[in-house]
Symmetry: C2
Subunit: 168 residues, 2 copies
């Protein structure tokens, strides 16, 4: 799974398209694709609020789809592209699905478990180790998140001002 | 959610019943129930092989069911009973679902992330902390796992002997 820089950017753009689906639903915009032999076999986007499912992160949705398509819980010889560093749950899920390679766009200093808070994917005590690469389209992957949270803060501020005005 | 010892054992027996469903399908026997106000709102058992889904651990199945029943991804004021210490993925999922209390039967020295390899549930850096109790019906919870793995080793040994005999 030695993809060229151009190929990596192509698949990360596909993950960013998935993140756009979250954004359209006012969900935290994170997207993911799983690639095997140059073909996308699983797509996912964060849909926790829409589906009211705590586990419905981009990576979990993509793993479920790839498991269905392959008819196999093991996703050997695949690469998972995700716009933001995986959390603890998703890092655990990546290991359980035996995915050997993860490429993420931007780090998540608060909740990331693939280098920031934990190094789940490279922990030699677990029975599956993953190679991790980062920095592909990092600025775009980070920007879509920053824009989302800035807009959410502005909306909350505006709602509070209107609420204060109603009660003044 | 202050359950008596008798109540805790009752719910852990329900989790063991769930583990029995995995055993019937020759899956690693781990079971889970999620309880709110003394009522079970989610049940789950490990079904990875049957469903060909890497994420289909007992806890994840129970969280999905409870989320559907509650119509909410947040499982506030609930207690999760599971026969074996949760793995990394499930510990992450428990935090994401905002479950405040986890009671598990027996530790998992190899893959446990609620005290053995990691302390995900009590990590103050994550934005949700969980109280963890262990040792409820510990012997039964451990025994069903030990029996499963012993029988699997015996079957594998017998299959190898028959295979060797065929090729001798």
């Amino acid at each position: 799974m030695d993809y060229t820089q151009e190929e990596k950017e192509y698949f990360m753009r596909e993950a960013l398209r998935e993140a756009g689906k979250s954004l359209d639903k006012e969900e935290i915009p994170i997207g993911c694709v799983i690639v095997k032999d140059g073909q996308i076999i699983g797509r996912g986007h964060n849909a926790r609020e829409e589906l009211n499912q705590a586990i419905m992160h981009a990576e979990v949705m993509a793993i479920q789809e790839a498991n269905r398509l392959e008819g196999n819980w093991r996703l050997l010889d695949t690469t998972l592209f995700v716009t933001i560093e995986p959390c603890v749950m998703c890092s655990g899920a990546i290991g359980l699905a035996r995915i050997p390679q993860v490429i993420y766009g931007a780090a998540n200093q608060k909740f990331g478990a693939a280098g920031s808070l934990y190094n789940i994917l490279t922990d030699s005590r677990l029975n599956h180790r993953v190679t991790v690469e980062t920095g592909i389209l990092e600025d775009e992957c980070a920007a879509i998140m920053q824009d989302f949270f800035r807009q959410r803060r502005e909306k909350q501020k505006m709602a509070k001002q209107m609420d204060d005005a109603d009660h003044s």
